[in-house]
């Protein structure tokens, strides 16, 4: 698995997200209040809303378009809604963040 460096954890506000541009589309990288980080496709399973723009609470994000709540840990919709987005492996080394490129190409497949 190839890891690509994407920046520092401090580039993302706590309870916030930033985007990574890739040929296969946008990846949303989240940082929770407790400094846990997650990466998922920036594409709500409901109508494709940009999850990176949602409100981050606990280890979940609420989509800004129609309020679906997506688990950052599993990528699955929580509550009554059904659907899932792909999660992308991410690791923190010191301050630096890396995502798994292999997962990216899976994305495209």
């Amino acid at each position: 698995m190839t890891w690509a460096m994407i920046g520092r954890i401090t580039d993302i506000p706590r309870r916030g997200a930033r985007c990574i541009e890739t040929p296969q589309g946008k990846i949303a990288v989240f940082r929770t209040a407790e400094d846990r980080v997650f990466a998922i496709e920036d594409h709500c399973p409901h109508k494709g809303g940009p999850l990176s723009q949602g409100i981050v609470h606990g280890a979940a994000v609420t989509c800004p378009l129609h309020n679906w709540v997506i688990s950052l840990e599993t990528g699955k919709a929580l509550g009554a809604d059904e659907g899932a987005v792909r999660t992308i492996p991410i690791k923190v080394e010191g301050e630096m963040l890396f995502i798994a490129l292999a997962a990216l190409s899976d994305c495209a497949a």
Binding site: E21, K26, P64
Partner: protein, 848 residues
């Protein structure tokens, strides 16, 4: 009289004409409807008409003459209006719409001065002559004015109608001394109301104990103590000799020589039936207008109902028998051969003074053939006495603990032999038959025909039946369908218990909708606790109020952020991560993840320079759609997020700031061209709209706030469906609010008319600040206003100048921190991270 009062009186008198028109149309459409004329518009004729319309709709064309200039309201509730617990609007029984719907012609402020029984017409003091086929006299009663010197001085009032209450409320503003003459039901309610309004009150009562007609001396003594504990002085055996004063009241002189100073004297020493009109018409009258058991006077075409009627030698003042008269009269109006008859029955007495529970019914005098059961609990202030004759209850007095009143009343009515339960009778129903002490058990055990609501004669079986049949779940619904607890309200607890019993766990009257799944607290509690506990950031709120999640959710976080922004201006640092994306990046997200941008055009006015700048931006950033909005602005749609700061930079150079089209805050103030151009304009509506917008832009509010200013009542700016609207008129500015034209459509309410633009601005600002401080997040003004009542809002921002100024100043202070253009902040680099990707990887053109 305040300006808005004038405005409302004009509105209502203007309405009289269309109502009359409607009635005439109806009359011509239906052949041979009989003409029913009613003199008086109180609770008894109102109830009679309800019965009549239900039993024989369309049978009569109805005309009402009301000496009071208003619709039918609940006189029993005047005391809560006096004490400030309710507003006039809350006690209206039939609003204007009811009269229109039923084709009734209502003459407000017309007093009937004569009846011509031969010609079958009545004549009003304003010269209207109205013919009738059937006439109902419902002139009510007049207060008994003591025949003592000085009884006509200014400052001597009676306590009968809303005018009296308004006069007392006005007098109470002086916060000086008041005397209430009469320690009966009405007098004590008046005293408690005046005390609540800040007056120093003394009650003068001729008899040795209070309410001696309803209470025995022991209960009267407890009542006197409770009244005195509230700071009201009580003087019993006080015989009024004269009311002293030059032009105005200065005090009361008692027969024993004592002088008691006062600036207000309220006579509540009793009432007498108002039978003068009937007497002049030659109808038989005694204490009241004499009627038979079918409520007919000595003229078969004339009925009398209410306090003015004397039936079987009795006159009545409590609502239950009056409503019974109404029912009987309606039956006879429907069917002249009806056998419906009014039968005398005892009515329980209850005092409507908050915190004092008393109940009395029947006969409680001592006597050889009677015995009694008494329970006293001095420390709890409880006194119960049951009077028995031949082992049957003939009277009950309860003080301090009245829950079993309905049960005792039921036993009395049915003349139940109580021998078997005599030992435990006084403890109440819950103790009978060894059943456990469950407050619900008492209600459960009541038979179906037990009376729950004395005022409206509604029994348990009917309430339970309607709840089940119609699937009712709220108290308001039950009131609407059965009228139970809809008059004096003292049986509300019983009705709620019945609902709980019938609906089981699905009924939860105290249920507060929690803000979200993270807490059990509702919005109002959270707002209160933020202030009370001095909580100044989102984490402190969640910690102190025991949120069940670590950092809230997408529902509570924006709400909390708003409450903190509103409550702690200058202290609280806005938590952008708790804001919805639109407010975080100051643009509106669209379905494809692009954004739309709406620059502010003050009052909807723009210029060639501004339009040119917009055109240039559209070209430069290849913006796909440009659209004019409903709020008189220009919307540019389909802008990529990364482009936003550059778009704003170019717009900023042309002088544009954010239009806040995305905000739970002040959106737009629409205007028409007013006196600048329009031949009908009465004021500078454009200028005023711009002034409001420049004053209020940038403020955050619970939900969006849209405004408009129209220069004349033609209302081209459509101000009457806005959150706040202004209609300019020659005499000033009519301020409207609580309109809606979205999910709900609702015309505005009139807040009031003010003379100057400065005052109009102040009132609008105060209104919005009150809304900011009180409403629940995402609750629009019209929903908030429905909850807190129009009257209360009017009182706080229009009538109470001190409150208005307070709201105004708090808004102005908060604006010091709010009026910063978010676009220029971001052009200067704030929140850069929002508008740039964190990284670009694997892209062919990627060059880092």
């Amino acid at each position: 009289m305040t300006p808005h009062d004038i405005a409302r009186v004009q509105t209502s008198s203007a309405k009289t004409a269309p109502i009359a028109d409607a009635a005439e149309k109806d009359a011509s459409a239906v052949t041979k409807t009989e003409r029913l004329v009613i003199v008086g518009n109180g609770m008894a004729p109102g109830r009679m008409l309800e019965h009549l319309f239900e039993r024989a709709p369309g049978r009569y064309t109805v005309t009402i003459f009301n000496a009071e200039p208003r619709v039918n309201y609940d006189r029993i509730m005047l005391s809560p209006v006096l004490s400030g617990e309710k507003s006039y609007e809350q006690i209206i029984i039939h609003g204007d719409g009811w009269y229109i719907k039923n084709g009734i012609t209502l003459y407000k402020g017309h007093k009937i001065v004569s009846i011509d029984r031969d010609a079958k017409t009545v004549t009003s003091d304003r010269g209207v002559v109205e013919p009738y086929d059937k006439l109902v006299i419902a002139t009510g009663s007049v207060p008994f004015i003591l025949p003592v010197p000085g009884n006509n001085l200014a400052g001597v009032l009676s306590y009968r109608d809303l005018d009296d209450v308004n006069a007392m409320l006005l007098a109470a503003q002086s916060r000086t001394k008041a005397i209430v003459i009469g320690g009966g039901l009405l007098g004590l309610e008046a005293a408690a109301g005046l005390e609540a309004q800040g007056m120093d009150v003394t009650v003068l009562h001729l008899m040795p104990t209070l309410m001696e007609r309803q209470l025995d001396p022991a209960a009267g003594y407890l009542l006197q103590k409770a009244i005195e504990d509230r700071g009201i002085k009580v003087i019993c055996k006080a015989s009024t000799k004269a009311i002293i004063g030059e032009k105005k009241v200065e005090g009361v002189e008692l027969a024993d020589g004592r002088l008691i100073p006062a600036t207000l004297v309220v006579m509540a020493a009793g009432i007498k039936p108002n039978a003068g009109l009937a007497k002049d018409a030659g109808l038989s009258s005694n204490r009241g207008i004499v009627v038979d058991a079918g409520m007919r006077t000595t003229d078969p075409n004339i009925f009398a109902v209410g306090e003015c009627a004397e039936v079987g030698g009795h006159v009545y003042g409590l609502v239950a028998p009056l409503y019974e008269m109404a029912r009987v009269a309606a039956e006879h109006l429907v069917d002249s051969s009806s056998t419906a008859a009014f039968v005398h029955s005892d009515t329980p007495t209850k005092l409507k003074v908050t915190g004092i529970d008393l109940f009395s019914i029947g006969d409680f005098a001592d006597g050889e053939d009677r015995n009694e059961i008494v329970l006293r609990d001095a420390s709890a202030g409880v006194y119960k006495r049951i009077i028995l004759k031949d082992n049957r209850i003939i009277g009950t007095v309860l003080y301090g603990e009245t829950a079993d009143g309905a049960w005792f009343n039921d036993l009395k009515k049915k003349q139940v032999d109580i021998t078997d339960m005599r030992d435990t009778l006084i403890f109440g129903q819950a103790y009978q038959g060894g059943s456990p002490l469950d407050p619900m058990a008492a209600v459960a055990a009541l038979p179906d025909d037990a009376e729950i609501c004395g005022c409206n004669g509604v029994c348990k079986g009917r309430i339970v039946g309607v709840i089940q049949e119609k699937g009712l779940t709220s108290l308001d619904d039950v009131r609407a369908h059965t009228k139970a607890s809809a008059s004096c309200g003292s049986c509300t607890g019983l009705v709620e218990q019945l609902m709980a019993l019938t609906l089981g766990e699905s009924y939860n009257p105290a249920a507060v909708q929690p803000m979200c799944g993270c807490t059990t607290l509702g919005h109002d509690d959270v707002r209160r606790l933020i202030k009370a506990k001095n909580l100044k950031n989102v984490f402190a709120v969640m910690q102190e109020l025991e949120w069940t999640t670590s950092c809230g959710c997408a529902k509570c976080r924006p709400a909390l952020n708003y409450y903190l922004v509103c409550d702690w201006p200058g202290e609280y640092a806005d938590d952008y991560q708790s804001r919805f994306i639109n407010e975080r990046v100051h643009a509106n997200i669209q379905k494809d993840g692009t954004y739309s941008v709406v620059p502010r055009m003050w009052g909807g006015v723009t210029s060639a320079k501004e339009l040119r700048a917009i055109a240039d931006v559209v070209d430069k950033f290849d913006i796909p759609t440009v659209k004019v909005t409903g709020g008189q602005r220009i919307d540019m749609l389909g802008i990529k997020k990364e482009d936003l700061p550059a778009v704003w930079a170019d717009l900023g150079k042309a002088g544009f700031v954010s239009g806040h089209a995305y905000a739970k805050g002040l959106r737009t103030v629409k205007t028409c061209v007013g006196t600048d151009w329009c031949r009908f304009g009465t004021q500078d509506s454009t200028g005023f709209g711009i002034r409001i917008e420049k004053f209020m832009w940038g403020s955050w509010t619970p939900a969006k706030v849209k405004m408009a200013v129209s220069g004349c009542p033609r209302n081209c700016a459509e101000a009457t469906c806005k959150d706040v609207g202004v209609i300019c008129v020659d005499s000033g500015y009519e301020i409207h609010f609580a309109g809606a034209a979205g999910l709900d459509i609702k015309g505005t309410e009139v807040l009031g008319l003010v003379k100057t633009e400065d005052e109009a601005l102040k009132v609008i600002v105060a209104l919005v600040q009150m809304y900011r401080e009180q409403a629940r997040y995402l609750e629009r003004i019209y929903k908030w206003a429905k909850r807190v009542t129009i009257a209360e809002i009017r009182r706080q921002v229009l009538d109470d100048l001190e409150k208005r100024q307070g709201y105004y100043e708090r808004f102005v202070y908060s604006q010091k921190f709010a009026q910063v253009d978010p676009w220029s902040e971001r052009v200067s680099g704030l929140h850069k991270h929002e508008f740039k990707p964190m990284a670009t990887i694997g892209m062919p053109q990627a060059a880092e």
